[in-house]
Symmetry: C2
Subunit: 358 residues, 2 copies
C-alpha cells in the first residue's frame, strides 16, 4: 500500500471504491478467542478495561489472528456510565444496585471530563495506535444515549425496557435531562478518543431496537444526533475525515431514521437484506454489516456461501459507477462459542470474494 | 347487531369496512388479570390447558372484563409439541430434558391425530363457543413450524437459536424433515380447531424474528405456507371465510415475505409504522397490530394518544375508498405487570377513536 494512501477501511467508510471490501467483527476482541480467555483468567473484566496495557493487548489479539481491516478499542459502554457517578458492578453482566429512576437521581449524575474520569481509555487509545500496523485503523466507541439510559434506569439488562419506558411516558422531562447528560458525556468521551488517535468512532444503540418509531423520533434519534453534532462542533475541521458509525440492533422498522442521526456509516443487524436497507436509507451513507453471527457455527462452505450473499446484497445496481458503500461485519457481536478458525474463514472469504479492480 | 351480519372482527379480517376498528390483545388471558392468577393459584399451567372448563373460563375472562372484539383460545404452543412425543416440562418456562438434535430423534417424532392426542383442546373450543356472545368470534392458534422446531432443538427459550441454526447449516435435510413434521402437526391441529368451532386461526412465529432473510426464504416461509395450504386442502370450501393470521415478531426486515405465507391477516410487532409495513406488504392483506405493550405502563392520556397514532398509521391514503384493513392489537403479548384498567383504557380508546360511518 502506498504511503500516501489512507487505510482501506477509512477509504471505504468515506464511500470510495476500494480494492476489496474491508471487514472487521463486532466483539472481535472477546471470549471466543483462547488468548482472550487466557488474559481474563488473570484479570477481571473491569481491570482489563482500566489497565491500558491489557486493553491494548486485547484490542490487538484479533488483528494478529484474523487479519481484519480495522481494530476496535477494547473497552465497555458502561465505563462512561460509571464515570457519570453510577455504581455499576459486573457479576458477570452489568448491575446497578441503585438504578436511576427519579429526577433527583438524574440530577446527581455528572457530565464528567473524560481526561480526568477515564484517562485510562485515552492512554489505551494512544498505546494501541503505537502498536497497530499503519494500515489498520482504530475505531473508538461508546454507547448511545438511549442505550446508556436503559442501563441506568433498568439497573441491568432487560427484555422489554419496562422501567425505562415508564419513565419516558410518565416523566418525559426527566428522561430528556437524563438523555441529554448521557449525550454530553458520550460526545466528550468520543471527542477525546479522536484526539488521542481514534480514526473512526462508533455509537452502539444496542437497546434502541426495543423502541417504537414514535419513541425513536422522540427519545432516540435526537440524542444520537446530538452526540455527532457535538463532536463536529468540538473538533471542527479535524473531525471531517472521521467516519461516524451508528449501530442500532433490530432497526429494520426505522432504517430511514438511522441516517437522520448524522452518521456517515450505518451498522445493521442480520434481520434484513442490505439491498432493502439501502432502499430505505438512501445512497449517501455507507452500510456496515450484516451476516448472522450464528452462520459461523456452520461449516466453512456455508460461511463462504453466506459471505457471497451479503456481498451481493451490498452491490449497487450498477457496479461500474459510484461508491461501493459497504464495510463487511457481522450483524451483531460474535458469539462466545464461535470456533476462532471460522472467524478466519469469514475474513478470508470477504477479502477473496470482494476483490476487484479499482 | 343484525342476526345476518358476521361479527365485526371477522368482517374486518376480510377487509370489509366496519363501524369501528376491532381490537383484541395478545395474551389477553394472562397473568396481568387477578382472576387469572386466582385460577393459577389452584391449578398448574398444563392443567389449565388440559381441562376444558378451565381453558374455557380463562378464555372468557378478558372478554367479560375488557369488551374485546375477539376471544383467543387459552392453550399453549407447546401442546402440539408434547403431542408429537417431546418430553416438555414447565418450570416455569418450557424445558425439554432431551432436545431433538439428531436425525433419529426427529424420525421418532409423531404427526399426531389431534382428536386422539389433544381432544381436550377441541373440547375447550366447543365449550368456549357455547359460552361466548355470538358477536365475539373465537380465534384458534398454534405455533408456526420454525417456532416449534426452535423449542424442540433448543430445548427451551434461546437468545440466538444457536443450536437450531447449527442444525439448519449442518443438516438441512434433517431440519427439513423436522419442519415438515411440525407443519403437518400444526395443519391438522388447526383444521380440527376450525371443525370444532374456531372462526379464525393464528400461527405464531415468535422465533422467526431471529432469522436472516436467507433463512426465512429457506426454512420459515415455505413451512408456514405449507400449514395454510394444508388447511385449505383439508377443509376445502368451509375454510374460505376463515381468516388465517400470521404473526412474526421482529419481522420488519422481511414483511414482504410474511404475505407470501398465504396468510390473509399479518400480525406485526411495534417496531415499525403500520404505514411502512403496508408499503412493504401491499394492499391485499389486513394488518393486525401494533402498539408497544409497554405503552400500557404509561398514564391513560399517553395510552389514548398512542392509540390514535397507530390508528392514523393504519389509515389508507384515501380513507373514502377500499377496505380499512386493520385489526388493532398490541405488537406483542401484554406484559404481566400491566394494570388491567389500562388494558380497558386501550380497548375503549380504540372503539371511540376509530368510530366511523360505514
Amino acid at each position: 500500500m502506498a504511503e500516501t494512501t489512507a487505510p482501506l477501511f477509512l477509504r471505504a467508510c468515506r464511500g470510495e471504491r476500494t480494492e476489496h471490501t474491508p471487514v472487521w467483527i463486532m466483539r472481535q476482541a472477546g471470549r471466543y478467542l483462547p488468548e482472550y480467555r487466557a488474559i481474563r483468567e488473570q484479570y477481571d473484566f473491569l481491570t482489563t478495561c482500566r489497565v491500558p496495557e491489557l486493553a491494548c493487548e486485547l484490542t490487538l489479539q484479533p488483528v494478529r489472528r484474523l487479519g481484519v481491516d480495522a481494530a476496535i478499542l477494547f473497552s465497555d459502554i458502561l465505563i462512561p456510565v460509571i464515570a457519570m457517578g453510577a455504581d455499576v458492578t459486573f457479576s458477570p453482566g452489568p448491575y446497578l444496585a441503585q438504578p436511576i429512576r427519579t429526577r433527583a437521581a438524574v440530577e446527581a449524575l455528572r457530565v464528567p471530563d473524560p481526561t480526568e474520569a477515564m484517562p485510562f481509555v485515552l492512554d489505551a487509545v494512544r498505546a494501541i495506535r503505537q502498536e497497530l500496523p499503519p494500515d489498520v485503523p482504530l475505531i473508538g466507541f461508546a454507547g448511545a444515549p438511549l442505550t446508556m439510559a436503559a442501563y441506568l434506569v433498568e439497573g441491568g439488562g432487560s427484555r422489554n425496557l419496562a422501567r425505562l419506558k415508564e419513565l419516558l411516558y410518565h416523566e418525559p422531562e426527566t428522561a430528556d435531562l437524563l438523555l441529554d447528560r448521557c449525550a454530553s458525556t458520550v460526545a466528550r468521551h468520543l471527542s477525546e478518543q479522536i484526539r488521542a488517535g481514534a480514526q473512526a468512532v462508533m455509537l452502539f444503540d444496542t437497546w434502541a431496537g426495543l423502541m417504537s418509531p414514535v419513541d425513536i423520533d422522540r427519545f432516540v434519534r435526537p440524542y444520537a444526533r446530538k452526540v455527532f453534532d457535538a463532536i463536529r462542533q468540538e473538533l471542527g475541521a479535524p473531525s471531517a475525515g472521521v467516519p461516524f458509525i451508528y449501530y442500532a440492533g433490530d432497526a429494520a422498522g426505522w432504517y430511514d431514521r438511522c441516517a437522520e442521526t448524522g452518521a456517515t456509516v450505518i451498522g445493521l443487524d442480520w434481520r434484513s437484506d442490505l439491498s432493502q436497507a439501502r432502499r430505505a436509507i438512501g445512497p449517501t451513507v455507507v452500510l456496515q454489516g450484516n451476516l448472522d453471527p450464528a452462520v459461523l457455527f456452520g461449516p466453512p462452505s456455508v460461511i463462504r456461501e453466506r459471505v457471497s450473499a451479503v456481498l451481493a446484497s451490498a452491490r449497487p445496481a450498477s457496479d461500474e459507477h459510484g461508491p461501493i458503500g459497504h464495510v463487511f461485519n457481522l450483524g451483531h457481536g460474535i458469539l462466545p462459542s464461535t470456533p476462532p478458525d471460522h472467524a478466519k474463514v469469514l475474513v478470508d472469504a470477504v477479502h477473496e470474494r470482494s476483490a476487484r479492480s479499482c
